[in-house]
């Protein structure tokens, strides 16, 4: 029989052994430097949020409150989306070696032992009953199973719940305090918790599928059957009358997901890599969604199935499979519930024991004369001992609370009561991360005020409902004063108790925190910590830190301190790695500068909390008190330096850009200079050719009076031609120079381009006729009209036509002129059937003094400036001039001029 007591005990023990194996494996891998904590494991470990209160209790809540149980999971989903806030918490904790939420708050407000203690007390008072709830859940699930099997396993005097508490304590001690880690990280535990998360999700979905599709005919069938009963139909209708409660619960659970000690432990302290948050942001909400899909169906299924019977809805997940003989499934559910409870208990007690040890016991121990008298070198063993004792004590407290409360109200409602307790950390935490003015006095006042209101409006009334204390303050108000009624404070009735408590406690908490902070002055340590926390992402770092500490210390004393609390082996290991990071071969040769003191303090903080670490370091180092003003000066200076360096960076960028521009400009100037030289030497050469010819012929005429008249006439003709060419050349050079320097005069107006082309053709008509070259035009009768300089356009046209007539063969030559509108441009083509140009020549002819044809053998036919000038002119009007040609296929010179933009 599956459900015998022995088998159940064996199964539970086997499961815990498996869990332990997973944890050991995780630890072993961590020690070997091969962490198994991946982003997925991290995200799954967050599901320690889903305790047995989720596993069993959600169904119970759904049977009374309908869909409102979902608020507990919607809040965390939304909160995780503010990943920036969580990232900041993680970063701060890594930098300051923070190991618990108490340490976080204490460190921010000047490493205050008072605050650390206060936060620890609130956490313990708020959370111990929650641990009791887990014990109750395991006990209740066992009771259900044993009710079927008959408890023949344990004698009547042995309480199974006590046994469970002992096993859990041993378990937690085993893998929670294996060694004292500088970062309080427990990779084995995280791995085990992630494993448990998978188990409980699997178990819950299994029972959900069984109820929905095994017992009933699917979701639709289940809902339709439930809809038949008005009482059940109420459960899945969303009632806007509970709008306020709904929002309050979302807020409350959103705060709980980061401020419950176990959640802070898993999300912040156990985070090995900040990038894991990326996965957790959606994978953990997905987990929550999956584990909740079947809660309402199971609740409805249970209510339908057990109609009229007195079955505790909290146990539906067990009783429904059992009622249908699915014993294997019931055992799986039991294991799932065990996972949910053990995961929560382990992480919560580890987190609480760290806080109790570092923030309650250590401060007291450090002050006691016993410790000072005790000159034992190594206190690390003592620290572990304290933690183990704290774990045992917390579980014992949980057990006692469970025994005392039993079935009383105080246990059932404790989940949300715990949430409301840890919500009190929110103002001090958020304020501490984003508001530099928040002070220790403000945080203490806010926490005390919020905690007091929470006690009065939520915890004590729950005691009263359990009849442990008189209920007078709830019914009639404290001392009979009506407006002091615990759950209708100042007459505020009509809210449920959780919303009521949340409203008043946060009101008191935030109010006191803000008002007291604004009216108190931080001391130097506080001001420094405020700066470091709020500006964690842009903290100036080492140098400012070093300036903020002045005093003297000896390396020996600090090392002795580390050895005392970390153990000699671990202390030396840390020292060696610190020395290596500073490129010092032997740590014994280091000097105790500010940086080293900070390192030592951070290491100590990892082991005993920041507040105690501060006290211990101060006890061996002679520190100079800087005073608030000086600290603020240094911090302001650091801020300014940051601002300056940022400014400097910007200036440097500008300077670099300017240098680049200057270099480019310089290069361009050099290029221009070279071009000018080239130009001058070319011009000189071009001018000398006709001059030489003129001079030679003139000398011949001058020296030889016996020259024939015909020769004289011929020579004179050449002289006149060359002189003309010279004049033309000089004119064009001047023209070119004007165009290039931008000093040319332009008279821009509306020009009928067709008319200009026709006039140019007429002007050169004689030239064409002389050489017997055909000149044909394809020109619109009027227009197109462009904005240009008429004379300049004529110049371009004449240049193109005279080039064409120069290069076509006499007799068979043909030149065609076309004017057309293409898009937003006028396109003018002058095509000839001359020898054509090579691809290279097509480019070269637009350079100055470069001409078509072989200039070495042939006599130059032009000045070599016509085309460059024409191109300049056309480009001035916003157009282009180019040539399309192949050797032997004639040349087609084309230029375009944009049409004026239409008036629209």
């Amino acid at each position: 029989m599956l459900l015998s007591g022995w088998f159940i005990a064996l199964l539970a023990t086997g499961y815990l052994a498996l869990l332990f194996a997973v944890a050991r494996f995780g630890d072993a891998r961590a020690d070997a430097g091969k962490s198994i904590i991946s982003a997925n494991v991290y995200a799954l470990s967050l599901a320690v949020y889903c305790t047995s209160w989720t596993f069993y209790g959600s169904v119970g809540r759904a049977t009374s409150g309908g869909l409102s149980f979902l608020t507990i999971y919607i809040g965390p989903t939304l909160m995780l989306l503010f990943a920036g806030v969580i990232l900041k918490m993680v970063r701060i904790s890594k930098v300051h070696r923070i190991t618990s939420i108490a340490d976080f708050i204490a460190s921010r407000y000047g490493k205050s032992q008072l605050l650390a203690g206060l936060v620890t007390v609130i956490a313990v008072v708020g959370v111990v009953p929650y641990i009791a709830l887990q014990l109750k859940a395991i006990s209740a699930s066992l009771a259900v199973l044993f009710a079927q099997a008959g408890n023949d396993l344990f004698p009547w005097w042995l309480d199974t719940t006590f046994l469970i508490a002992i096993v859990l304590a041993l378990f937690t001690i085993w893998f929670g305090t294996r060694h004292l880690d500088a970062t309080e990280r427990h990779e084995g535990m995280v791995a085990a918790v992630a494993f448990e998360s998978v188990v409980k999700l699997f178990a819950f979905i299994a029972v959900g599928l069984f109820v929905t599709y095994g017992i009933f005919g699917g979701l639709g069938d289940l809902f339709q059957r439930a809809a038949a009963s008005p009482e059940l139909a109420r459960l899945f209708s969303l009632d806007s009358g509970r709008a306020g409660t709904w929002t309050a619960m979302v807020l409350l659970s959103g705060l709980a997901i980061i401020f419950l000690p176990r959640q802070f432990q898993i999300i912040v302290v156990e985070n090995v890599d900040e990038s894991h948050l990326r996965r957790a942001v959606w994978l953990f909400p997905l987990y929550l969604l999956l584990i909740n899909i079947f809660v309402l169906p199971i609740a409805l299924g249970g209510l339908l199935h057990f109609q009229g019977q007195a079955v505790n809805p909290d146990t539906f997940v067990l009783t429904l499979p059992l009622a249908h003989g699915a014993q294997g499934l019931a055992l799986l559910v039991f294991i799932g519930g065990l996972s949910a409870a053990t995961g929560m208990v382990i992480v919560e007690t580890i987190a609480l024991s760290t806080m109790v040890c570092n923030d309650l016991v250590m401060p007291w121990l450090l002050r006691s004369t016993w410790l000072q008298a005790e000159k034992r070198q190594d206190l690390s063993g003592l620290l572990i001992g304290i933690r183990r004792a704290a774990i045992a004590l917390i579980l014992l407290l949980g057990y006692i609370y469970f025994r005392a409360a039993g079935e009383a109200y105080a246990l059932v409602g404790i989940g949300l009561i715990s949430f409301a307790a840890v919500a009190q950390f929110a103002p001090a935490m958020f304020g501490g991360m984003y508001w530099k003015q928040g002070t220790r006095a403000g945080a203490v006042a806010g926490l005390l005020g919020g905690f007091a209101v929470w006690l009065y409006t939520l915890l004590l009334p729950s005691f009263a409902k359990s009849h442990w204390i008189g209920g007078g303050f709830v019914e009639d108000g404290l001392l009979g004063v009506g407006w002091l009624k615990a759950q209708a404070l100042f007459g505020l009735a009509g809210l449920d108790e959780i919303s009521h408590c949340l409203l008043w406690s946060l009101f008191a908490n935030i109010g006191l925190y803000v008002v007291v902070s604004l009216n108190s002055r931080p001391d130097a340590t506080e001001a420094r910590q405020a700066e470091r926390f709020v500006d964690i992402f842009r903290h100036a770092g080492r140098e400012t830190d070093a300036r903020l500490w002045r005093g003297s210390a000896s390396v020996e004393q600090l090392v002795a301190l580390l050895e005392r609390f970390l153990g000699p082996a671990r202390a030396r290991q840390q020292m060696a790695s610190y020395a290596a990071s500073r490129q010092i071969a032997d740590w014994k040769k280091m000097s105790a500068d500010a940086d080293f003191v900070h390192f030592a303090e951070a290491e100590l903080a990892g082991a005993i909390g920041s507040a105690s670490a501060r006290v211990m370091v101060a006890s061996v180092a002679q520190e100079e008190d800087l005073g608030l003003d000086e600290v603020l000066d240094i911090l302001d200076e650091a801020t300014q330096v940051r601002a300056y360096s940022r400014e400097l960076e910007v200036k440097q960028h500008e300077l670099q850009a300017a240098t680049g521009e200057l270099r480019a400009a310089n290069d361009r100037l050099r290029e221009l200079d070279r071009m000018k030289d080239d130009f001058i030497s070319t011009v000189t050469h071009e001018l000398r050719t006709p001059l030489t010819s003129i001079r030679a012929l003139s000398e011949m005429l001058h020296d030889d009076p016996r020259l024939e008249l015909s020769d004289r006439k011929r020579f004179l003709g050449i002289i006149v031609n060359e002189a003309e060419r010279l004049t033309r050349l000089i004119n064009q050079i001047l023209d070119m120079a004007k165009l290039e320097s931008g000093r040319a005069e332009w008279t821009t107006g509306e020009v009928d381009i067709g008319e200009v082309v026709r006039e140019a053709m007429d002007a050169l008509g004689q030239l064409f006729r002389d050489k017997a070259v055909a000149l044909e035009g394809d020109i619109p009768a009027s227009g197109p009209v462009v904005l240009a300089d008429r004379d300049r356009l004529t110049q371009v046209m004449i240049n193109l036509l005279s080039n064409a007539v120069k290069f076509v063969p006499g007799g068979t030559g043909r030149v065609q002129v076309r004017v057309a509108v293409a898009g937003q441009r006028v396109r003018v083509e002058v095509a000839d059937n001359g020898p054509g140009l090579t691809a290279e020549e097509c480019n070269v002819i637009f350079e100055k003094f470069r001409q078509g044809g072989n200039t070495l053998t042939d006599k130059p036919q032009g000045t070599g400036l016509g085309l460059p000038i024409s191109r300049q002119i056309v480009e001035y009007f916003g157009g282009n001039l180019w040539v399309e040609s192949r050797p032997g296929a004639g040349a087609n010179f084309i230029f375009t001029v944009p049409l004026p933009a239409s008036e629209e």
Binding site: I74, T77, L78, M79, D221, S240, R278, V281
Partner: protein, 64 residues
């Protein structure tokens, strides 16, 4: 100065979008049922799943 990365800002925007979608009064809008399943139940889980899908898309996108 280091600014919050764009993906973090996008996630926070999703959070701000989710809050009104998953609380009253918007939560009171769906009524009736679809294939026998109450509209409110579908709406809650649908919006929730949608938020998670968007968050996954934003968070896991390369180069953001």
């Amino acid at each position: 100065m280091k600014r919050a990365s764009l993906s973090r800002q996008r996630l926070a925007a999703l959070g701000l979008l989710g809050l009104p979608l998953l609380t009253y009064p918007l939560l009171g809008l769906p009524s009736g049922s679809w294939a026998g399943i109450p509209a409110g139940y579908l709406y809650l889980f649908g919006v929730w799943a949608g938020l998670i899908a968007l968050a996954a898309w934003v968070a896991e996108r390369k180069g953001s």
